[in-house]
């Protein structure tokens, strides 16, 4: 398979109002239960701009296999509106927005695929609105895994001015096994988002006014603690599959194993798949294998085994 790894324009950009937030999304024209791809990243990040089109290769690969696919920009990221309420500058806000988006789209229950912070959002959507979810694939989610990711340490290596092409490239190099997927087009695409007025405003709120430290992080800590306590005693309500890059710098495999151990305590059918020569963006570095195993998992969900 060869993939356009930058743009989903060929599938048509669409918009809907999700609980008051104008939300950008892409959907192919295949019917059936959609696989919903949820990107990672943080609102207003300085040298990254995670968005729906990070999934371009996977979207295209699943489309070629005949799967219905949807990808959307989470609240405050990509081209979706920024949060309006103080408490929504958080993953909790993004969970509520994701639930509103999925309800408004009205094509559930969905198969969710969440990467990194998007994995945490997808997991919380599953717990809080299980009627919307048929299954969940978690990908390299250091936000969800017990223990600590290495993002802050990696980000401390930056030497370029934030938001410049060099910094955007470096950010993704830090997080990858190899740099082949970090094309100039992809970097330029992200820089356009970073330079948008909406993204600048988000950065001013999160870093300038400090909401990342005063709202985002405290809520995340509380929600993680509650999640771990919950998973110690309760089964996860939907079929679950973990995919991890063997060489993930910010989300080392060791914490992936801890997450897997936590899940299988009460969800013993959960499987974990590890892709070699793949970093945090395992789905971009090993796209064909990623698409194959997601499709395999979905076939199992459909078959009920």
């Amino acid at each position: 398979m060869s993939h356009d790894t930058v743009s989903l324009a060929a599938f048509g950009e669409a918009w809907l109002d999700a609980d008051g937030a104008r939300t950008r999304y892409f959907a192919n024209e295949i019917g059936g239960t959609p696989i919903v791809l949820m990107h990672g990243g943080t609102i207003g990040e300085a040298s990254a701009a995670a968005n729906a089109e990070d999934w371009a290769g996977v979207f295209r690969g699943l489309h070629e296999l005949g799967q219905a696919v949807v990808a959307f920009d989470k609240l405050g990221q990509g081209y979706t509106d920024n949060p309006r309420e103080h408490g929504d500058w958080s993953l909790r806000g993004q969970v509520n927005h994701a639930i509103a988006f999925l309800r408004t789209l009205d094509r559930g229950p969905y198969d969710l695929v969440g990467h990194s912070r998007g994995g945490f959002v997808a997991l919380q959507v599953t717990l809080q609105a299980p009627d919307l979810v048929r299954s969940l694939v978690m990908v390299d989610s250091n936000t969800t895994a017990p223990g600590y990711g290495r993002n802050d340490f990696l980000n401390a290596h930056h030497v370029d001015a934030p938001g410049t092409p060099a910094a955007i490239r470096a950010q993704h190099v830090f997080e990858s096994f190899h740099d082949a997927h970090i094309t100039e087009d992809w970097v330029a695409h992200k820089q356009r988002i970073i330079q948008s007025e909406k993204h600048r405003a988000a950065g001013a709120m999160m870093r300038g006014q400090g909401l990342f430290e005063t709202v985002f992080q405290p809520m995340l800590r509380a929600d993680r603690d509650a999640l771990f306590e919950h998973l110690e005693i309760a089964a996860f309500p939907r079929p679950l599959f973990l995919i991890w890059g063997y060489n993930d710098p910010p989300a080392p495999l060791a914490i992936g194993y801890r997450l897997y151990d936590l899940f299988v305590k009460h969800a013993p059918l959960t499987q974990m798949h590890i892709l070699n020569e793949a970093g945090h963006y395992s789905f971009r570095e090993q796209t064909d294998a990623f698409v194959r195993v997601v499709d395999e998992f979905i076939q199992g969900v459909i078959a009920g085994d």
Binding site: Y260, Q271, I274, N276, E296, Q299, G300, D305
Partner: protein, 198 residues
């Protein structure tokens, strides 16, 4: 016109049979089960002869438990004949051989392991390789799996690892649908890769 011999999926084990697995592959591949001799050196020769008999291939090997040693060894020795390796709970390949009982061929098994490790580090597996581990296998040890994985990933980009929970050595019997779907997808991928390279 010469008859074209299609690539086979060769299911390997020493004592267990794959009767329940073969029908799942019968419509898409020439699925063959080979019961290997319980001596690693003789088993490797047996597998080599089998691949010659099956034709040029390249063929897919799906090897259970101790037969993973012979599969890896033959794949390394006959790169043109093997399209992919799926090594299922191959604890005998891991350092120290996992928790399996001591076998009569333990010295030969030890030598085979060293030979395989050296090849993995020097040149790597010549084909896509899927390592399958049941983390609750009584004779398994995930730390041993992790060390072994580390050797396989060094020089073969297309190395993948799959973990199953609450399943033992015979994961293909305990979780047949999931196992068959996984092998089917992986071998199809490896077959298309072989066609691209040929």
């Amino acid at each position: 016109m010469t008859d074209v011999v299609p690539p086979s999926i060769v299911f390997l084990a020493e004592t267990r049979d794959w009767d329940a697995t073969l029908p799942a592959f019968a419509s898409t591949a020439n699925a063959v089960a080979l019961e290997l001799i319980a001596n690693v050196d003789e088993a490797s020769r047996q597998l080599t002869a089998c691949l010659h008999d099956l034709g040029p291939g390249p063929h897919h090997l799906v090897a259970l438990s101790r037969s993973a040693v012979s599969a890896a060894r033959v794949a390394l020795a006959m790169p043109d004949r093997v399209a992919s390796c799926t090594l299922v709970n191959g604890w005998a390949l891991a350092p120290g051989g996992g928790r399996a009982p001591l076998s009569d061929d333990a010295p030969a098994l030890g030598r085979a392991r060293v030979e395989i490790y050296r090849s993995l580090i020097q040149c790597g597996m010549p084909c896509p390789t899927l390592l399958v581990w049941s983390i609750d296998d009584p004779i398994g040890d995930r730390d041993a799996a992790a060390v072994l994985n580390e050797m396989f990933v060094q020089r073969q980009r297309e190395t993948e690892i799959r973990y199953f929970a609450r399943a033992g050595t015979d994961v293909f019997r305990e979780r047949p649908a999931a196992f068959n779907r996984m092998v089917s997808g992986f071998t199809a991928h490896a077959a298309s890769r072989s066609r691209l390279l040929s």
